[in-house]
Each structure stands twice: as structure tokens, then as C-alpha cells.
């Protein structure tokens, strides 16, 4: 099976209308039937009606959040796969998301989130940074898939256990039940508050990752070659890692750990961008946004109360794909 690479213009002429369509569909889906036209009119006339409240205070923030988080995960997956030159690198699998969730849990449940808006995503960033540093230390120069996966399993387990521990000691009587949110992720009942908290960190992170596009291209030829081409490898690697941790940290701190988006999306898009890491970044961001919006629509159609977590849907799709990738790379493993 071979897929022809598409011209960027053609690619985005296909992806962006799909994104718009899915976004409008997401605004239309919910437990209550509303007339979107009336919602808009009421909102422009500055009337607080049932329709305007539901569209602008409930559905819009939720859909925007799903879109931005999907973009973040797609982008981070593409960046990590390029940086580690490993097809299985993904924030969820290598433990970065759980690290971020741990950081966010500590800030959130121990009453620190109230002091300043940026503390929650900052907690996520620090947790993600610690996890990614451990991964880089463990994996080092090795490109072995097995090493990365095993290190990821270890970090994921420790992260999950520490999240449970932190929630166990939290004061709130609800804390323990909420472990599901942090491990599986959700954008249900999220509001503009969470959107505004996470967005600045995500935007900065995206900028840093996109800035490293050419460096990722050079990196496919090896670090030495990248160095000889004039790239400041250690500085750019740091920029990339900070970009990933800032955006993933912010995303996870408001929506929990949504798995497998970062794994599936870059693999899906790679053939369309002629296997070029730089071009893969933006394409993965847009596709990740589409995918997460679709997943959130599925969540809402399957359960009106948001009892199914977003991560359940993405894992149901992503985990078999993960298995498929492992089977495909069995030769490399042996």
C-alpha cells in the first residue's frame, strides 16, 4: 500500500474544511437540542438566554478545548517521534502525560491552584519535564524501541501510583473517585476558565515545537550530521523538550491524560507529508484536533452525562493501532 504525498496546499484544503465541519458538528451535539441561529442572535444582542448560555458558556469552551488539546497531543507526538527517532514515542506511552497529571494533581488538590492562574499548568509542565528528563536519561542515545517502551512502562507506573497516592492524601472527599479523570482524561464540564488557563502555555509550546521543524528534519540524518549542518543540537533539543512539556503539561492539567492521540496521528499523516518531520508537525496538529473533536462527539453521543471518559474512546482506537505497530516492528525488536 502506498499513499502519495500531497502538496501542502492540497493537504490543508482537505484537512481544514474537515476540521471546521467537525467543530460545527461538536457545537451541535449535546443533551439539549438548541437552535444555533437563535444562540448567535441572542449573544450578539447581549441577551443571556438558555440558548446563548448553552452554546457560548458550555459547548464552545468544551469544543475549543478538545480542539486545542487534540492539536497539542498530535503535535507533541510528532515532535517526540522525531526527537527520539522512535516510532512509538508518544506523551502517553512514555509517561510524560502521567508526569504532567501528577504535577497538576499536586497543585490542584493541595489548594495551590487558587493562588495564581498559571500554577496549575505550571505544575503540569514541571511534572512532564521530570518525566521526560528521566526518559532521556534512561534511553540516552539508544534508539531501541524496547528500551523506550520499558522505560515508559516504568515511568507510567510510578506516575500512576504517585497520582493515586497524592489523591489518597488529598483533603477533598471526592479526590479518590477522580483518579479516573486524571488517568483517562475528559473535557466534559470544562469551562472558559480551564480554556484560558491552558491556552497560553499551549500556544507558547506550539511555537517552540514548530520553531524546531528544520532541526527535526536534520535530525533524521543523525545528531552528528545535524551538528555539521550548523544546528545547535543541545539548545534546540532543550527548546523542543520545553515546548512539548509546556503544551502537554497545560493540556493534561485541565483535561487529564488522554492517550494514544499522539501515537496514532503522526503515523496516519506521515505518508501524506512525504515522511518529512517538519511538515508532519502542523499536519499532526490539525489531524489531532479533528480526531479529538470526533472522540468527544462520540463520548457525548454514547453518554449524555459524560460518564465515558475521552481516553476510553481514544484508547479503544489507539491501543490496537499500538499493537499493530509493535507487530510491524517485530523484526527490529528481535
Amino acid at each position: 500500500m502506498s499513499i502519495r504525498a500531497l502538496e501542502p496546499r492540497v493537504l490543508y484544503a482537505i484537512l481544514l474544511p474537515i476540521l471546521l465541519l467537525v467543530f460545527l458538528l461538536a457545537l451541535n451535539v449535546g443533551p439539549v437540542e438548541i437552535d444555533l441561529g437563535k444562540s448567535m442572535r441572542d449573544w450578539f444582542n447581549e441577551l443571556t438566554t438558555i440558548e446563548s448560555l448553552i452554546l457560548f458558556d458550555i459547548r464552545l469552551p468544551r469544543s475549543l478545548l478538545a480542539m486545542f488539546i487534540g492539536a497539542t497531543l498530535g503535535l507533541a507526538g510528532a515532535a517526540l517521534q522525531g526527537l527520539l527517532r522512535n516510532p512509538l514515542a508518544e506523551p502517553g506511552i512514555i509517561g510524560v502525560s502521567n508526569g504532567a497529571a501528577l504535577g497538576a494533581v499536586i497543585v490542584f488538590y493541595y489548594g495551590m491552584a487558587g493562588f495564581a492562574w498559571f500554577l496549575l499548568p505550571l505544575g503540569g509542565l514541571i511534572g512532564a519535564l521530570i518525566a521526560v528528563s528521566i526518559i532521556l536519561l534512561l534511553v540516552g542515545q539508544s534508539r531501541s524501541i524496547v528500551t523506550l517502551i520499558l522505560a515508559g512502562i516504568a515511568i507510567n507506573s510510578v506516575g500512576g501510583a504517585l497520582i493515586a497516592l497524592a489523591l489518597n492524601f488529598a483533603q477533598s472527599p471526592y479526590a479518590m473517585q477522580e483518579i479516573v479523570f486524571w488517568l483517562l482524561g475528559s473535557v466534559a464540564n470544562r469551562s472558559v476558565n480551564e480554556l484560558f488557563i491552558a491556552l497560553p502555555f499551549m500556544l507558547v509550546g506550539w511555537g517552540m515545537i514548530l520553531y524546531c521543524g528544520r532541526f527535526l528534519n536534520a535530525l533524521t540524518l543523525g545528531e552528528e550530521t545535524a551538528k555539521s549542518m550548523g544546528f545547535d543540537v543541545s539548545r534546540l533539543r532543550l527548546v523542543l523538550v520545553l515546548g512539548v512539556t509546556a503544551s502537554v503539561g497545560a493540556a493534561v492539567s485541565v483535561a487529564g491524560n488522554i492517550g494514544f492521540v499522539g501515537l496514532v496521528v503522526p503515523h496516519l499523516m506521515r505518508p501524506f507529508v512525504a515522511y518529512e518531520p517538519r511538515r508532519l508537525l502542523l499536519a499532526s496538529a490539525v489531524t489531532g484536533a479533528i480526531l479529538l473533536l470526533v472522540a468527544d462527539i462520540a463520548v457525548q453521543l454514547l453518554s449524555s452525562n459524560g460518564e465515558i471518559k475521552l481516553g476510553v474512546i481514544t484508547s479503544l482506537v489507539g491501543a490496537p493501532f499500538f499493537l499493530f505497530l509493535i507487530l510491524k516492528s517485530r523484526n527490529v525488536l528481535q
Binding site: 449535546g30 443533551p31 439539549v32 438548541i34 443571556t48 438558555i50 448560555l53 448553552i54 458558556d57 458550555i58 459547548r59 490542584f108 488538590y109 493541595y110 489548594g111 491552584a113 487558587g114 488529598a170 483533603q171 477533598s172 472527599p173 471526592y174 479526590a175 473517585q177 477522580e178 479523570f181 464540564n189 469551562s191 472558559v192 476558565n193 449524555s304 452525562n305 459524560g306 460518564e307
Partner: protein
């Protein structure tokens, strides 16, 4: 009884001499043994409560000497109506070890709280009584009477019931002229309260129409915020007095859309301690609600 047992001993020792007397004495002893409950007006002397609602019933109905320990919840500012009555009573965390320490002759618990402790205590041979969940004000009356029976305070329980009935009738009369209003409850994790619940019955007594019940919701169920907003209630009752650190559950009641809705609606905040348990304090909650109509 002691005398008769002694007599039996003597008779056995003297052996058979007078058969009819021995038989009579044996019969009498057996009769006494089996009928002790009939004769005993003894109330339980060391009662332990292992949950908030039974704490309050115990503090309300039992004599102070009867109470060995109540749970730590009895002192919770948000939840407990009877804080002042606790005094220097020992507190427990409803763990089996703590409770055995008191060698209780009666342990009281709610049917749904600390059920594992209750089960374990029963296996160890302790007398455990569990109060059922009250789904209406009538349930509270029978619950109070039952609790009075268990603890040997029937008359006290009966007088509490009578007083509740009088107070409720007075409230209903006092606010008969106010218009009915629609109401909906929203609590942490997005839960609302539908039909077949004590809260629903309280709303009805206070002159409100519970929209969750109108929608067909029974018991405690989560409701989508959109559905709540679309129901367009006159009054919202929201649990916001949770003075605890952040959680995602409490973020539900802090949603900005809810703030905007409240700006245009009335907002009812009945203290948790007045409505969380079955007991006479619910008349105060009903009065609070009726006043706001």
C-alpha cells in the same frame, strides 16, 4: 431466679426425694430464662453510633448515660446539626477495633454508611441495628419510632414525632398564600435529586415543584448542565458551602454558566446540616425554603 437455681442444686444433691418439686423448679427456671426479655425493662447501656445520621438520632433520643461513643462526623461543622450535644463523648472513626473497645450492647449505623464495619461487627456477634434510608417525611416518623424502640426511648421518640407534625402543619398554614415555584438541585459531580427521595418530599412540603422529578428522574442522578439550564427553574439549590479544597466534583457547581444563570434566577442555599439526615431538623430546612417562596 438465683434462688430457684440454688434450689435445683439442692434438689439434685438430695436426689429425687421429691420429684414434683424438682420438676416445678426446672420448669420455672426454664421459663425465666426464656422470658427475660419480657421482664427486662433494661435499655441498652453502651450504645455506639458509627455514622452521622445515627449519631444525631442517638444524641436526640437516648439518655446520655446510654451513649458510649459517636462518630467523628457528629462534630463536622457543615454536616452535623447536633455539635453542641456531643460534649465530651468519645468519638470514633467507625473502625471495628475502636468500636469493640467499648464492648457495646448496641451498635447503630445507617444502612449505607460503613456497611463493611457493620457486617464485620455482626459476624463478631455484636448487636448491630441499621436505619433504612428515609425517602419521605413519613419514613422519618417511622424511623424515629423504630430508633426509640431499639434504644428504649419510645415515649421520647413519639413526642418528637408529634412535635414535627405540629411544626410542619404550622409551616404549611403560614405560607399557604405564597405562589408555588419550580426548583432544581445541582450538587458536586453534577448530581440532582429526583422523585422518591426525602429532599423531594421536603420540596413538596415547602410548596415547590421539583423539576428533576417532573423530568422523570428518580433518586440521585447526574444531570447534564445543559439539561438543567434548559429546564429553566425559578430557583436553583446549589451545594456551594463546601469549605474544602478543590476537586473536580466541586468544579461542577462552580461552572461559569451557572453563575450567569444565578444572576437571573433565585438561589437557594439550605445548610447541609439541616437536610442531610433524617430527623426533626428538616422542619427548619422546610421553613427556610417556604420563607423564600
Amino acid at each position: 431466679m438465683l434462688y430457684c437455681s440454688g434450689a435445683i442444686g439442692k434438689i439434685v444433691r438430695v436426689k429425687i426425694n421429691d420429684g414434683p418439686m424438682k420438676r416445678f423448679c426446672l420448669f420455672f427456671t426454664v421459663l425465666l430464662l426464656f422470658s427475660t426479655p419480657l421482664f427486662a425493662t433494661d435499655k441498652p447501656r453502651r450504645i455506639v453510633s458509627i455514622g452521622l445520621c445515627t449519631d444525631q438520632l442517638l444524641l436526640l433520643l437516648a439518655d446520655r448515660e446510654q451513649i458510649a461513643s459517636v462518630s467523628v462526623w457528629a462534630l463536622d461543622e457543615n454536616m452535623s446539626y447536633m455539635i453542641d450535644a456531643v460534649g465530651d463523648l468519645p468519638l470514633n472513626n467507625s473502625s471495628v477495633e475502636e468500636i469493640i473497645k467499648y464492648q457495646p450492647d448496641l451498635v447503630v449505623a445507617s444502612a449505607y454508611a460503613a456497611w463493611d464495619t457493620a457486617k464485620f461487627l455482626r459476624q463478631l456477634g455484636y448487636q448491630v441495628k441499621q436505619i433504612p434510608l428515609a425517602r419521605s417525611i413519613t419514613d422519618i416518623y417511622s424511623l424515629l419510632r423504630q430508633f426509640g424502640e431499639w434504644t428504649g426511648n419510645q415515649q421520647h421518640a413519639e413526642s418528637v414525632v408529634k412535635q414535627m407534625q405540629t411544626e410542619l402543619a404550622e409551616i404549611q398554614q403560614r405560607y399557604a398564600g405564597s405562589p408555588q415555584k419550580t426548583v432544581i438541585v445541582y450538587s458536586p459531580n453534577g448530581f440532582t435529586i429526583g422523585a422518591n427521595t426525602l429532599e423531594h418530599d421536603m420540596f413538596t412540603h415547602a410548596g415547590y415543584i421539583n423539576l428533576a422529578a417532573t423530568m422523570g428522574i428518580e433518586g440521585f442522578k447526574p444531570i447534564a448542565l445543559e439539561t438543567l439550564i434548559a429546564a429553566d427553574p425559578d430557583v436553583l439549590q446549589i451545594d456551594r458551602n463546601l469549605s474544602r479544597p478543590d476537586s473536580l466534583a466541586t468544579a461542577y457547581v462552580g461552572h461559569p454558566a451557572l453563575d450567569k444563570l444565578i444572576e437571573h434566577r433565585e438561589y437557594l442555599d439550605i445548610p447541609t446540616r439541616l437536610r442531610i439526615c433524617a430527623g426533626p431538623m428538616i422542619t427548619e430546612a422546610i421553613e427556610n425554603m417556604a420563607q423564600r417562596r
